[in-house]
């Protein structure tokens, strides 16, 4: 693959990642956020594929499949799947819309600022490396920060999970861009961790719904003392 094509493709997937990250912040609807997260998973998988082709690294192929399956399909599906159990009756509960602590405009401004911060803090890294992949590294850091922003500003348990996963995607992005990914065993372990956390939190949010009637994590304050 020629250098220019490679950098074009890296730029494309990194742009997609950043865009989806911003979308997860911006959307009020939880369904839309989850959809954006799924797209982000695909974009991450595409990034892995590009890196794999560029480095001609066979080991990255299973990683690509893993990322595609887990981040693109399984996790969004787990998040979106919400058959709630209320009492003994199985009822379908609509995913509530998010009412974030920060309004969308302020959130977008904050996301833009975080993007700048990410670019500023990764500047030494970008300056010292000629590779196109390293040049895209600020995107990963920005995703981490934006994911954190989602965690901080969202009330619903599921939205917080979305933020957490976006953050995790950001970490993975940085890893792939800078060093071509972590060893497969580590990647596998981390993915399993994320899956487990998501499943547990999913169960947990269902418990919250059963207890409080909704999944506003602010209600957890009542559990203090």
């Amino acid at each position: 693959m020629s250098n220019s094509v490679f950098s074009e493709l890296i730029g494309l997937s990194a742009g997609a990642l950043l865009l989806t990250s911003v979308l997860t912040v911006w959307h009020r609807s939880q369904r839309a956020s989850i959809r954006a997260l799924a797209v982000q998973g695909f974009a991450l998988a595409a990034l892995v594929a590009v890196v794999a082709v560029d480095r001609k690294d066979v080991e990255l192929v299973p990683v690509f499949l893993l990322v595609l399956a887990l981040k693109g399909l399984v996790l969004p599906w787990v998040l979106a799947r919400r058959p709630g159990v209320v009492g003994t009756e199985r009822v379908r509960i609509d995913i509530e819309d998010e009412s974030p602590l920060l309004n969308p405009v302020a959130t977008l401004v904050a996301a833009a600022l975080l993007g700048m911060v990410a670019y500023a803090v990764t500047w030494p890294l970008v300056a010292s490396s000629p590779s196109a992949a390293a040049h895209a590294a600020p995107v990963g850091v920005a995703m981490v920060l934006i994911g954190f922003l989602v965690l901080v500003t969202r009330r619903r348990a599921i939205s917080q999970l979305v933020g957490f996963l976006a953050l995790d995607n950001g970490i993975a992005t940085v890893a792939f861009l800078i060093s071509g990914g972590v060893p497969i065993l580590l990647e596998f372990g981390a993915s399993l961790d994320v899956l487990l956390v998501t499943l547990i939190l999913q169960v947990f949010s269902r418990q919250m719904r059963a207890t409080f009637g909704d999944t506003d994590v602010g209600r957890m304050r009542e559990l203090r003392d």
Binding site: V121, L145, V152, V217, M220, R224
Partner: protein, 675 residues
């Protein structure tokens, strides 16, 4: 192996035996075996201490797996004296404990804690480096805290007392640690021999001095760090309060003596004034609170503050006089401090164990509910009476001799070869004399009250009326303790000579300071004063016996008519409620010292029916608070409380807030890393 190292090893081995014996099932077996082993350990301590005090040397080195060097125990003469005091008290207290403990105080934990406490106390003065000193110090603090907590289930005040006690003892530890750290940094080593090389007038030396004064002063229960004393002593089991008061606070005295005599001898005059002021304040404040207290054990606790205050005053006078070159007087003051220490250990053991017997027999600590115990508990009453003589510094007791020596040194301390040495000394010494005189007067009042109200007259409650004399072993312990008080009071000469050699730099007996004269009397040739208690007693007897004989003879010739009180209308009119109570006896003192004591009184009058003139009952209650605690500690504590409440805002349970903290932390770290 020298006898001292043998004694030290034996002591540790017996401590281990006592701890092992504490695990035995069955309260009687456990109490006897563990108590006897603890007493045996203390006896080994008495042996070692006496040897060390006599000038024998020897050490015990315990290698430990820390990068700090081994623990070294090598008591010198001064250490030997305090080892002797601590373990002497330990023997009596452990024996007393065998028969007096019951319930939670007889548990495994308590017996283990007692052994640890006693061991720590004995080995603190034996330590020859900072690490072993602090280790044993903590063992002492830990053991005593556990013992204090023993009865927390049965009385609510115990846990609050334990909190105060442990906070204060940890604060004291902190200051001691800081002081030693400063000294060790300046000296470049942690053995006591190395610490002694620091110059007493260097910045490091003076900083360490102030830190150590706060630390050891707090352990000695000096004002204003005394707040734990009137809480911890009354709430602890009686044998533990005896050990705490008679021996543990002495470790604070030992600490400051080591600082003043060994580490930083020849400190500046102001350090002497500091000690003098602290001691004087504590003495007056302590005895004032004691004189108005009607709780027997609280009274004894405050009296401890007074006595330790006098000891510090004597040490301060010694430092101050030494700074102006008054060597003989300075040495006499130091001797007075040691005499006060020994005598306080003796009479306070007697008093606390006596109070323990009273508490055991009646379940009462409140003097207002006692009375008439003299006839019901003659042994306890006699021993307690002798203890009171000691505490009030009256003749034939050790307290009298000690305060006499102190007054001699203070009175004669202002002039060197007939010329005044400095304005400070000329003003300070008479003030100190006034303080000692005031405390002596109030002490007489206090102990007349505690003995007169507690043991004489008629019982003021059913519990006091039904009191029984205590167990024979307790009586033996009380008699031994009281005998020591009298013995030291009658024959102070030999002890004074030994004590004078203990603090002398070369350990030699210098005839210029103190001599034994007459029938084991004491003479201070440097000051031209002498005291021979036995001779005085004989003299008094020569005068008193004929007078008594004549009185008795005339009384026999004119037998008293019984059975008719003059205005009694033929009936018995006096009732126990008509007697003085402890509160009413101390009322004039409360009135005089109104501004310091801040009493709050409440008189509640219930009228009979509608009448304004007929009174059915009058209820009087008086509440005396510790003004230092209220003015100094409460504001600090409530400020800390408020701060704590305010700090809860940052930890309010909101997940978003916690996440925000992490988020902010990450951002800050990133930005700082770039900058």
């Amino acid at each position: 192996m020298t006898p001292i190292s043998l004694g030290l090893i034996t002591g540790l081995a017996l401590a281990a035996v006592a701890i092992a014996a504490a695990f035995l099932p069955g309260v009687p077996v456990r109490s006897i075996l563990s108590g006897v082993s603890t007493a045996a350990m203390s006896a080994a301590g008495v042996f070692t201490g006496a040897l060390a005090m006599a000038g024998a040397t020897g050490k015990l080195v315990v290698p430990i797996a820390l990068p700090l060097g081994p623990l070294t125990f090598e008591p010198d003469r001064l250490g030997g004296l305090f080892m002797l005091i601590a373990s002497g008290v330990g023997v009596l207290v452990s024996l007393y404990g065998i028969v007096s403990v019951h319930g939670a105080s007889a548990s495994r934990t308590s017996w283990i804690a007692l052994a640890v406490f006693m061991m720590g106390m004995q080995y603190v003065p034996a330590a020859a480096d900072v690490l072993s000193f602090l280790l044993m110090w903590e063992a002492m603090a830990l053991g005593s805290t556990v013992l204090l907590l023993a009865e927390h289930a049965s009385r609510r005040r115990v846990s609050s007392a334990a909190v105060w006690y442990s906070v204060m003892s940890q604060l004291s530890f902190l200051f001691i640690l800081a002081g030693f750290a400063v000294l060790a940094a300046a000296a470049g080593g942690t053995t006591f021999a190395e610490l002694a090389l620091v110059s007493p007038t260097s910045t490091a030396g003076l900083t360490a001095f102030v830190l150590l004064v706060i630390g050891f002063g707090s352990k000695s229960g000096l004002v204003p760090m005394h707040v734990w004393l009137p809480r911890a002593h009354p709430e602890a089991p009686s044998h533990v309060s005896a050990a705490m008061s008679a021996a543990m606070v002495k470790m604070g005295v030992y600490g400051i003596l080591v600082v003043c005599v060994r580490f930083l001898p020849g400190g500046p005059a102001w350090s002497g004034i500091l000690l003098l002021t602290l001691g004087g304040l504590s003495a007056v404040y302590g005895i004032l609170q004691a004189s108005v207290s009607s709780d027997l054990k609280v009274l004894l606790a405050y009296s401890t503050t007074e006595n330790v205050g006098l000891i510090w005053l004597a040490i301060g006078a010694s430092v101050l006089l030494g700074a102006y070159g008054l060597t003989a007087t300075s040495a006499t003051s130091l001797l007075a401090a040691l005499l006060l220490t020994v005598s306080h250990a003796a009479f306070k053991t007697t008093l606390f164990l006596g109070a323990g017997s009273v508490l055991h027999a009646t379940g009462e600590r409140d003097l207002d509910h006692l009375g008439g115990l003299g006839r019901r508990m003659p042994w306890t009453a006699a021993a307690f009476g002798i203890g009171c003589l000691g505490a009030a510094a009256l003749p034939i007791s050790s307290g009298f001799v000690a305060e006499w020596v102190l007054l001699q040194s203070l009175v004669h301390g202002t002039r060197l070869n007939g010329a005044a040495v400095s304005v400070t000394v000329s003003i300070g010494m008479p003030l100190a004399v006034a303080v000692v005189a005031l405390t002596a007067g109030l002490a007489v009042l206090t102990f007349v009250k505690s003995y007169g109200i507690g043991f004489l007259a008629r019982p003021r409650s059913d519990a006091a009326a039904g009191a029984r004399e205590s167990h024979p072993l307790v009586r033996v312990v009380l008699v031994v303790a009281a005998a020591i008080v009298v013995l030291l009071g009658l024959m102070p000469g030999p002890l004074a000579s030994v004590l004078a050699s203990v603090v002398a730099e070369d350990g030699a007996r210098r005839p210029g300071i103190v001599d034994t004269i007459g029938m084991a009397g004491v003479s201070l040739p440097g000051l031209g004063a002498l005291l021979d208690p036995i001779a005085l007693v004989i003299l008094a007897a020569v005068v008193a016996v004929p007078v008594l004989a004549v009185t008795i003879a005339s009384a026999l010739r004119h037998p008293q008519r019984l059975g008719a009180s003059v205005w009694g209308g033929g009936g018995e009119r006096t009732r126990p409620r008509m007697q003085y109570t402890a509160t009413s006896y101390a009322e004039p003192v409360v009135r005089v010292f109104d501004d310091v004591l801040k009493p709050s009184r409440d008189v509640e009058v219930t009228h009979a029916g509608e009448s304004r003139y007929l009174v059915q009952r009058v209820k009087f209650s008086q509440n005396l608070t510790d003004v230092i605690e209220h003015r100094l500690y409460r504001p600090v504590l409530s400020a800390a409380d408020r701060l704590g409440v305010r700090a809860r805002v940052i930890q309010n349970g909101s997940i978003h807030l916690y996440l925000l903290y992490s988020f902010a932390a990450i951002l800050i770290v990133l930005i700082v890393a770039v900058l």
